[in-house]
Amino acid sequence: MALDSKIPAGPLEDKWTNHKNSINLVNPANKRQIDVIVVGTGLAGGSAAATLAELGYNVKAFCFQDSARRAHSIAAQGGINAAKNYQGDGDSTYRLFYDTVKGGDYRSREANVYRLAEVSANIIDQCVAQGVPFAREYGGLLDNRSFGGVLVSRTFYAAGQTGQQLLLGAYSALNRQIGRGKVKMYSRHEMLDVVIVDGKARGIIARNLVTGEIERHSAHAVVLGTGGYGNVFFLSTNAMGSNVTAAWKAHKRGAYFANPCYTQIHPTCIPVSGDHQSKLTLMSESLRNDGRIWVPKHKKDVEAIRAGSLKPTQLEEADRDYYLERRYPAFGNLVPRDVASRAAKERCDAGFGVNATGEAVYLDFSAAFVRYGKEQAHIKGLNEDDAAVVRQLGQEVVKNKYGNLFQMYEKIVDQNPYETPMMIYPAVHYTMGGIWVDYNLQTTVPGLYAIGEANFSDHGANRLGASALMQGLADGYFVLPYTIGDYLADDIRTGAIPTNSPAFDEAEKSVKDNIAHLINNNGTHSVDHFHKRLGKIMWDKCGMARNAKDLESAIVEIAELRKEFWKDVRVPGTNEEFNEELAKALRVADFLELGELFAKDALLREESAGGHFREEYQTEDGEAQRRTEFQYVSAWEYKGEPKDAVLHKEELTYENIEVKERSYK
């Protein structure tokens, strides 16, 4: 099948408006006859379910957590971008579009990104109307801060928990519809397959995680807002339950999977402390507004710090290497994430890592304490030269901005970041790749849609900070509810979809067979044993730097590990009960397939772009080197085994932005 991105004709800034004016609508009476399934209740899924119900469709919403409010969007920290230009610093829809395309290393679709920038301002209006308590200035207006890769302040935030506040907003809209009976909510349910009837997505098979019951649910369309697949690395900043299963099952039923190798490794996470580690914790990028990143200039100081004989606070300014400020004077500590992560890796690989494992750099707030402290001392008429007073006042300002992050750090690391610099290291955080969708957010399967992180659409090869929340809510509130109507307009006479068709029988049987195999396997190793081994292959060979030799061996190793998993995994208990190990086994089985496709995609992409860094393709300064012949989206069609997947290319054209070297110097 040839890929058709269905980008509307006309000038960039008119495409979305014209498209909305020309697509089909479903009248309110007919909407009542139409059912839509939404899987996932994060920012994308939650907002979509609420909005579709409000429009009049009958919605069934699913999440594996015990409440819709716990989807992993909840953990987003730093903020949400919007081209409001409240600061009057030159922001505009075009600039947000430009920054996003450039930030994505010219590997995203122009029309989608422009639409995202265009609707961004409405998101803030919507959220404020819903009672989201964004940070405000003393005059009562909304406050902004800066994120990496941009030269304006366009990020709205709620301390260090913007994700929770936005998700609670979407959750409240969802609750309103549940209360009205327009959304039927299925929590503690996991989607295990999508059902295709006559070429169209018409339902799902879900497992009730409390009783183990395998359920059939039908609808006229299915929307996946099921998040990213960072947990293929075992250790990531994702929640323990975050998984690829819904997306992967969709892929196996005909949805192309795009750019699986585009992974975001976030530069500021708390370093790994030992083999017991179950997950990694992010320290928001917003901290780079005020924190300066450094390692010692000299190896002797590195050794003294590791031995505990030298404290970082004792090291003179002249003996510190603020390597981001040195290499990227224009953007300094606020370079995009991929650039900051690679720079940290470069210093640590060169032997300058500051903890016992050699994999940590400092994030230091002492300069910010002084800067803010002097300002406060001046305002309060106190002595600006009294270092102790200044430091204390400065710490109060920082505490107001990032207090919960500093507290998290202290609880995990057992060090006080007000007294000594934080130690940080890059960790897997977000996946730009995902299910391929057209401009309408429809996958290659008619009636099957993917929104939020689950799709591939807007971030190219690297996502800018505070743009994930923006995309999730844009897709769910403002894009999908329009575009899905165009498809559903043909379904007004279809009537309810029966669940007793052969397609449902077949899908249910394949789910039950898989479960039976796992339960009766009586192997010797736990699910985590295999997941950790997969994670190690992924991190070592498909991580921050990749090369052909490693990727080739990763493909072989993952395939072997998958075979071993099916032969030797041990899943205790039965299906007919609450059984977390079984749920985990089903998820890891899919990660073991996705991992192989991931490596294959990374091997094919013989260039460096954004988060995908191939050692063979770099400039003399060690920067990512893009190649024009790879200016396309890789969309993979499932053909039985991940290694047999067939590549389809969507060429990317740039008519409104000049493709040039991505420089932050």
Binding site: A75, I412, F578
Partner: protein
């Protein structure tokens, strides 16, 4: 560290349940409490026994999924943290640790340490929202300035993660701190004023129907709340409720 764990095991909602003792060794003080349970479960699986079920997801203290009543305290002995942020350095070598589920009539046990907190969802469905359509065609976000103090206080209330520690800590199993936080967030913002009367009446009515107990202002909830939600929220919901009742 070597420890003795006494863990509540309960096959399902109908099972009676009992405490079972498990010795565990070689625990690093840098592990989180849940990572310690991961080690226990890995050992149980390898021995062919059924692992202990517990709720958890984000493991960074924000999703509110993890629960656990540890040595008689919701989320354990540390302050201002959820169980996933509790670290083993809070315990000593040789300690005995008793681990139970959050207990309340409105939080029935599903299995072992996993409980059903959907009663919280239903309280929110009864009125925990502002009835605006999600069209995006609202007024500009800066049209109504909000006093920074009110905005910050609303945010403090909104930091509630809905974990249920307040209920588990309360001798009456009252949900007033949770409901107080939700009502307060909206009560402090101009956008929430329009429906204030119906909201508080509906949410309190649902809270009572779910079987939560009454509040006697003992304050255990505030002490154990991982997000530091203060008793002021309970005072505020009482005021809001009184206002609503008087208005009729």
């Amino acid at each position: 560290m070597n420890l003795t764990l006494k863990i509540w095991r309960q096959k399902n909602a109908n099972d009676k349940g009992k405490l079972v003792e498990y010795p565990i060794s070689d625990i690093s003080p840098d592990m989180s409490f849940l990572e310690m349970l991961d080690v226990l479960n890995e050992g149980l699986i390898n021995k062919g026994e059924e692992p202990v079920e517990f709720d958890h997801d984000c493991r960074e203290g924000i999703c509110g999924m993890c629960s656990l009543y540890i040595n008689g305290e919701a989320h354990g002995p540390d302050r201002g943290v959820t169980t996933c942020q509790l670290h083993m350095r809070m315990f000593k070598d040789g300690d005995t640790i008793v681990i139970e589920p959050f207990r309340a009539a409105a939080f029935p046990v599903i299995k072992d340490l996993v409980v059903d907190r959907s009663s919280f969802d239903r309280i929110q469905q009864a009125g925990g929202f502002i009835s605006v359509n999600t069209s995006g065609n609202t007024i500009d976000a800066n049209t109504i300035p909000i006093n920074k103090h009110d905005a910050d206080t609303a945010f403090d209330s909104a930091t509630c993660i809905g974990c249920g520690a307040c209920v588990a800590s309360c001798k009456n199993s009252s949900a007033m701190l949770f409901v107080g936080a939700k009502v307060s967030q909206y009560a402090l913002l101009p956008q929430g004023q329009i429906e204030a009367t119906d909201r508080v009446l509906n949410m309190i009515k649902q809270m009572d129907e779910e079987g939560f107990g009454s509040c006697t202002n003992t304050g255990a909830c505030e002490v154990e709340c991982p997000k530091g939600i203060s008793l002021e929220n309970i005072a505020r919901v009482n005021r809001e409720y009184m206002k609503a009742v008087l208005k009729g």
